[in-house]
């Protein structure tokens, strides 16, 4: 027999697949899920919160909408309610997601397109950052930079960073199979030539540094807003 507790665990696991598109980390790891409860009748209630009152409303919307979709798909969940609290755009986001209205209708007159391109742009950044995570250890272990253009995903030693890079590429419909080039241009999917490789790796490194620094600031702000208060 499936209990409400089992369903709640499954709902939590589903939320772990929802990422902050900007930071490329699961909302559960970032602490953004304040609570997730499932009642005996299968009603899931999720409470989300973010580092600041003014976090960008487009990314906030994506997280609420993704959380809604992820939890709604859990077997045993009959209806889902996802609420973002303490945010200047809580009302349009919560109402819009509940009504499955899409971003443009949720922010009537303030948005002209859905968020697919924004999401893709940040997935491309995640691919760049992942490229640094995967290639840097290779180069440090003695792989010559000249050898990178001919290498495929199969040639890199297995690692969580490599798995993650493959998944991000697959999400963008970029080549992610064993025989695909290890280093690609995330805009086109084409392999990076030897001539372009040094600059490409520099860009991969600065992209990773930017995302890491941003995550550091966001988590510090989040801690100040919620955890420090709870600790007192």
């Amino acid at each position: 027999m499936t209990t409400a507790t089992d369903v709640a665990s499954a709902a939590w696991a589903a939320l772990a697949t929802v990422r902050d598109p900007e930071l490329d980390e699961p909302v559960t790891d970032l602490g953004f899920v304040a609570s997730c409860d499932v009642s005996p009748d299968g009603t899931a209630r999720v409470l989300l919160r973010l580092p600041t009152y003014f976090c960008a409303p487009n990314f906030a919307y994506l997280m609420v909408a993704d959380a809604y979709d992820a939890v709604s798909a859990v077997p045993g969940v009959r209806s889902a309610e996802v609420v973002l609290e303490d945010h200047f755009a809580s009302d349009p986001i919560n109402t819009g997601v509940a009504a499955r209205a899409g971003f443009v209708r949720s922010f009537d007159g303030e948005a002209v397109a859905e968020l697919d391109e924004l999401r893709a742009a940040f997935l491309r950044k995640a691919v760049m950052a992942g490229t640094d995570l995967v290639c840097r250890p290779l180069l440090q272990a003695g792989t010559a930079p000249d050898a990178l253009p001919a290498m495929t995903l199969r040639d890199a030693p297995p690692s969580t960073a490599l798995d993650r890079l493959r998944r991000r590429r697959a999400e963008l419909n970029l080549p992610a199979d064993d025989g695909a080039p290890l280093v690609i241009d995330p805009a086109t999917g084409e392999g990076i030539t030897a001539e372009r490789m040094p600059l490409h790796l520099r860009r991969a490194r600065v992209t990773r540094a930017g995302i890491e620094a941003n995550t550091g600031i966001c988590s510090g702000m989040f801690r100040h807003r919620y955890r420090d208060r709870e600790d007192q």
Partner: protein, 350 residues
């Protein structure tokens, strides 16, 4: 002035504020935004050392005496540049206006430079106000906040034709320096509010203006670095970088500094404390003591010596604002080369 290990540093705090965000200044009906804004700023202060944290009450409205002590008595600052932030949608008299800054600063001659601002959505009255402010306060710089709310609008871009009209007018009035702050909402909301490509366009089309991107485009350092490499008149404003990362996230701070030194170079980076978010004392002292960490992750970043730190802490901003620096603080020419020059050519060639 700060002295350490036989080196003397002339300190220009190129990004600081004197705000009133206390409830008496909140716009009726917009209290939640006024409160949310200052609480958000206060959370940033949490990233600095614990013994420099203020209560929210002091943070909402600190005094003239606090500012003078924190900057000039304790904070080693020689010259401070007020950067106004209006936010009149939420704060009745504005958060931190040119007038408020000047009213205070005029009591302390020789200590402050008054930057002003404009908002291209204000149209002709906005142009008139800009002209009045430049004439009255002698402003050589403006602070632009592209995500500022204005009668229902959630932001604008530097590349908008209406903004170009203001940039032209500002240039004709003698403005040299455009400080740009990117924020969390901009119209339309489906675009990335932190995107810096509009700065790229404006910097190309106004080659005689300098564009100081405050907070180095954080959280989009990569886009900022790539743009700055290609635009000789784009500078990295280090407010938030030092205050938000040096203490709280020292390894990320080192990486961001390494990237900025590589792509932008020590001649185009300027210190700003972002006071009252953070006091300058710990930032100046910590930055003078800072060294790139050892280890493979940091091995190929450029190094920063005392001459480079002197430029970043004051000499670069002094050059942008024609501040006279006594000879003893200057560094010999050629003391440091922008690290990214070779790669700038590489980028331009692609």
């Amino acid at each position: 002035m700060y002295a350490k290990d036989g080196e003397k540093y002339f300190i220009v705090d190129s990004h600081m504020h004197y705000w009133n965000a206390a409830p008496d200044n909140w716009v009726k009906g917009a209290e939640q935004y006024a409160k949310g804004w200052i609480e958000c700023f206060h959370a940033y202060q949490g990233l600095g050392p614990a013994d420099t944290h203020w209560t929210i009450e002091k943070f909402q409205k600190y005094s003239e005496d606090d500012l003078m002590k924190d900057l000039f008595e304790d904070g080693h600052v020689d010259m401070a540049i007020f950067q106004p932030t209006y936010l009149k949608e939420w704060y009745k008299e504005g958060f931190n206006t040119t007038e408020r800054n000047a009213l205070m600063g005029e009591k302390h001659p020789g200590k402050f430079i008054y930057n002003t601002r404009f908002d291209p959505r204000d149209g002709d009255p906005g142009l008139e106000e800009l002209k009045r402010n430049v004439e009255r306060f002698g402003s050589k710089g403006v602070k632009l906040y592209t995500a500022e709310w204005n009668t229902g609008s959630r932001g604008y871009k530097l590349s908008d034709p209406t903004t170009y009209r203001f940039l032209e007018a500002a240039q004709n009035l003698g403005i040299k320096n455009i400080h740009v702050h990117k924020g969390p909402t901009i119209w339309p909301l489906d675009k990335d509010a932190f995107d810096v490509s509009d700065v790229d366009h404006a910097a190309t089309d106004f080659p005689d203006l300098n564009f100081i991107v405050e907070h180095v485009g954080l959280p989009r350092i990569e886009d900022f670095c790539f743009m700055a490499t290609q635009e000789p008149n784009v500078y990295a404003g280090l407010s938030v970088v030092i205050g938000g990362l040096m203490h709280a996230r020292p390894r990320f701070f080192a990486k961001v500094m390494g990237e900025l030194l590589f792509w932008v170079g020590e001649d185009k980076m300027t210190f700003g404390s972002d006071y009252g978010i953070w006091e300058p004392k710990w930032q100046v002292e910590g930055f003078v003591d800072w060294e790139m960490p050892e280890g493979e992750e940091f091995a190929d970043y450029p190094r920063l010596n005392a001459a480079g730190k002197k430029k970043i802490l004051g000499l670069n901003a002094a050059r942008l604002y024609d501040i006279k620096v006594p000879l003893e603080y200057e560094v010999p020419a050629q003391a440091g080369q922008p690290a990214a020059q070779d790669d700038a050519q590489l980028v331009t060639g692609t």
